[in-house]
Symmetry: C2
Subunit: 359 residues, 2 copies
């Protein structure tokens, strides 16, 4: 069992990483303050893991909210289903929500916790690789809007994050790959040694070697915690965690939520960023090719879907949260292992990049 | 012009109270950080005051969101109308929202500011007495749910509160009275000298004497700021601001949002609390009668609507946010000018109280 701490003053919390820890009360009971708990999960995850957690919550007033599965349900309407259930079961502001599922469940449960009676406690129990290495850590919560991804939400930290690596045994291959996109991202933005390790261990990860997966999760959470601690509310450096996300969100919005997995869109977005960074003279051609090769070995897409034009890209990127007062900002790579948020790039290079990928 | 400060560390902000200050840029420009502003108002207020504010915002990218007027629109669906407009007009996380209207507009705009792109700046410009003395100060934002009032929301402080007392000249009599309910509340819970002043000056207030109204607003905001500073997120003492609100919310939910004005429901609720406090041996009969007389002179209701049974009251109060782990807590009066939050009261006294008022 590995334990990490996200150090945010009075909003600090532990991340537990281990195998078969979902039915261990030690990772849950100390982080539940009242007598009531509501588990929010989805139709896919509930049959697999709900009973494990339920077994250690016999002493609490328990409500289970089972949502439909998919990014297309990450909206205000589905969020209201959580509020309906909480109010019907008379949950007070002393209740604790438990998010059992992937990134969609985690983001929505966290936002529900932020808003229900102006704020209740919650615990993240991510069951996909992507949510374990990314969305469950750092307190970004929210839902999508028809006009943009994650446009409605809150910064709201959990009481604890419980990562059971055994849940990865039931994860579909496609979602494993999508999670690895975010893992690779950490190497690219701030951890060159980890990036090298990933290049050397990609086969072990793809064959779900438990030790390799645990290491990758731990290292990713560590990298993310370090960035979040430096800039909780993304007024600066935290934005580097969005490497590839501006292009990626445009792809997701264009394709329709749920058609491309988030990690898949981020993978294609990272290649586009690498290409733009190369055009800006920041990255060498070998590094771009190396990234494409790494993503291909993880069976991730390395270009956007056909049918999305450069103009459509620009239009969709214009609503990105990193746009400030009309100026598009992007996370660019200075080298493998180092990223910067900047609006200082040649627009012609961006257009060339978009035209290359949209041809 | 009077100025107050709400002292909450890095979330501190000023309250400006004056006549004809809506078109004075000094109260707005320093509190707008970016180049974009969105004014959120409603159909009733827009024709009266929108142009005044708009006149000083010519240098900003300006969006106006006009909502339907009424408590029945204070819900997630209407909130989403604000997000629609902000996204359509490409507002970024550097935008500033301005809430121009009463409590409903203020609560919804504040909550929209808390959630839009995980948090943007906002300014409160309350145009009703009730919102000037209560909802615009202290950072409680949110919307109603069919199963309970203000059940979804956030603690989110504005950058500034601009109170133009000239707006009260267009306020309907019924809303003036409703606002005075909250003014009287401050006297009851923490300011006996102000309560005495109110008893002596009720006629001046009802005839809209500008000096008397300004004084009452300033003193109310001062009392509220003091309580909020001591306990921003209502873990303790702040709950006394809810005097009469547990009964009041039950009345509002039962009657249907918008049928009773919030202040009217609070007035009836305060009488019920005074009665229960009397039954608990805390308040003398003269004080209860004095409160009824004061509320009557302000033309406020002093009992709940007919047709609401004691059992229905109990059921509706059970979802109140002050219920913790199944235990109903109420704000009771120890004397005129002093209140306590407690679950330590005789349930039989509560039932007697409900039966008296529901006969």
């Amino acid at each position: 069992m590995l334990e990490l701490k996200v150090d945010l003053g009075d909003r600090s919390y532990p991340i537990f990483i281990g195998s078969d820890i979902l039915s261990n009360p030690n990772y849950f009971h100390p982080y539940i303050t009242g007598k009531s708990v509501a588990i929010v999960t989805n139709e896919t995850v509930a049959p697999l893991y709900l009973e494990l957690i339920r077994s250690i919550l016999a002493d609490y007033n328990l409500t289970v909210v089972t949502l439909p599965d998919g990014e297309q349900y990450k909206n205000l309407e589905t969020l209201n289903l959580i509020f309906d259930k909480l109010l019907q079961a008379r949950h007070t502001r002393k209740t604790t929500l438990i998010a059992l599922g992937g990134g969609v469940v985690g983001d929505m449960t966290g936002f529900a916790a932020a808003c229900y009676q102006r704020g209740v406690d919650f615990i993240q129990v991510p069951t996909t690789l992507l949510s374990q290495v990314d969305s469950s850590v750092g307190g970004k919560t929210g839902v999508n809007h028809a006009l943009g991804k994650n446009m409605i939400g809150a910064f709201y930290q959990p009481n604890a994050v419980v990562i059971d690596t055994a849940t990865l045994s039931t994860l579909p291959d496609r979602e494993l790959s999508a999670g690895l996109a975010e893992v690779i991202k950490y190497g690219l933005i701030c951890d060159p040694a980890f990036y090298e390790w990933l290049q050397e261990n990609v086969e072990r990860l793809m064959s779900r070697d438990p030790e390799a997966l645990s290491y990758a999760i731990h290292r990713s959470c560590q990298d993310k915690a370090r960035v979040v601690e430096a800039d909780e509310k993304e007024s600066g450096i935290r934005a580097i965690l969005n490497l590839g996300h501006t292009f990626g969100h445009a792809i997701e919005t264009h394709a329709g939520y749920g058609v491309w997995l988030h990690g898949e869109a981020v993978a294609a977005g990272m290649v586009m960023v690498a290409d733009l960074s190369f055009r800006e003279g920041k990255l060498c051609k070998e590094d771009v090719d190396g990234l494409v090769a790494l993503l291909e070995s993880v069976r991730l897409p390395t270009q956007p879907p056909s049918g999305i034009s450069p103009d459509r890209f620009i239009e969709l990127m214009a609503v990105d949260k990193k746009v400030l007062d009309g100026q598009l900002r992007l996370v660019l790579l200075d080298s493998v292992g180092s990223a910067t948020v900047t609006d200082n790039f040649n627009p012609a290079n961006l257009m060339d990049c978009l035209e290359q990928f949209c041809s």
